[in-house]
Symmetry: C2
Subunit: 215 residues, 2 copies
């Protein structure tokens, strides 16, 4: 879990206490999500567990959506740190996929909060996408290649419409490879975490390794 109370530099006791309470609220929230699903998240129930009144808790999180946003931000932060650390250690695409799978399996609720069924009525704020852009930037470096000629109709399309990838200066074949990498990784993980691969009896890691090996 990403701890708000973990970094104390330049904070006074009141701010540290606030961070500790927010961390504790988030710990209870993850337990509720595992037990009943994210849509059943209740700030009043968390307040009760913590021996606080509802209104007192609302001083730490203004509402359900702010709490969900904090959880999603922590989850993305943890994923982005994991991905960047692997990249700095000189990972290949196949090894990176295995690292991300391990990250997802170590805490499925955290993965599912980002990539699972959307929470009805919840909309993530724009700054969340800044963290996902960090992840994308690493993917584009890992999937970069010498061969820069657009090969397929989708490559050509990606070259024309650079709304999202433009600022990252990657070539269309690289963007296409990064998208394929991400698609296949998400395919294995979503099937594995929703239990659809269990009856098949093989190691999903083998499937994943081959899916991302020949991009």
């Amino acid at each position: 879990m990403v701890m708000e109370s973990g970094v104390d530099a330049g904070r006074n006791p009141r701010e540290r206490y606030r961070a500790q309470v927010r961390d504790e609220v988030k710990r209870h929230a993850w337990e509720q999500i595992a037990a009943n699903g994210v849509t059943a998240l209740s700030l009043n129930a968390i307040a009760k567990e913590m021996g606080m009144t509802g209104p007192a808790l609302y001083r730490y999180f203004a509402g359900r959506d702010e709490l969900i946003t904090a959880l999603i931000r922590d989850a993305y932060r943890s994923l982005a740190d994991t991905v960047r650390a692997a990249h700095e250690a000189g990972t290949t695409a196949v090894a990176l996929a295995a690292v991300i799978r391990e990250w997802a399996l170590s805490d499925p609720q955290r993965y599912l909060l980002i990539y699972g069924t959307p929470v009805p009525g919840y909309h993530a704020p724009d700054d969340i996408t800044a963290i996902s852009d960090e992840i994308l930037a690493v993917l584009l470096e890992v999937c970069g290649t010498a061969e820069e000629t657009p090969q397929s109709p989708f490559d050509v399309f990606l070259g024309m419409d650079r709304r999202w990838a433009g600022k990252l200066l990657a070539s269309s074949p690289t963007v296409h490879r990064a998208l394929s990498f991400w698609t296949r990784l998400q395919g294995v993980l979503s099937l594995e975490l929703s239990g659809h691969l269990t009856p098949m009896g093989f190691d999903p890691g083998l499937l994943l390794a081959e899916e991302v090996a020949d991009l």
Copy 2:
């Protein structure tokens, strides 16, 4: 929606009435799922909306899990029928992927109930897998190929451990191709339906077509 009251052959008025009430309960359940998520599903709330008492409703569904199972069974039935109809019309793998995507987009909640975040505490009964085996059988036919020599370590593994695919008599390369097809399809659909492709501004159908074209 798959209607229990749609097939009346050999049923008496009491059975028809029962099927109609069950259909109405399921309609309310889908509305609740869209509004609040599947974990917030409440038989008592549905009973209230239908002007019934809770105990009266429980004569039609013995509990939340039985209702969820009925919804999952309907969703699988609809997907299996869609897949089989495409196969009988002589579909290619690329066209089949597009048909399944259309099915998912036409009713995202139905897709997400099968492939999205698992419902905490819910376990599907074994007979549900019989319907998913129907879908697998079509995939294996569509992904069948003349080239039957195991190519990769995963192919060889699939050839040795035939716990799940054994009865379907497909070769390991065909099973591997069907798994890749399904993985990539699920990857695109889960990213698309959880909103992760929206900011990228391209047509996910283009990505999907290329992902399943070169299996």
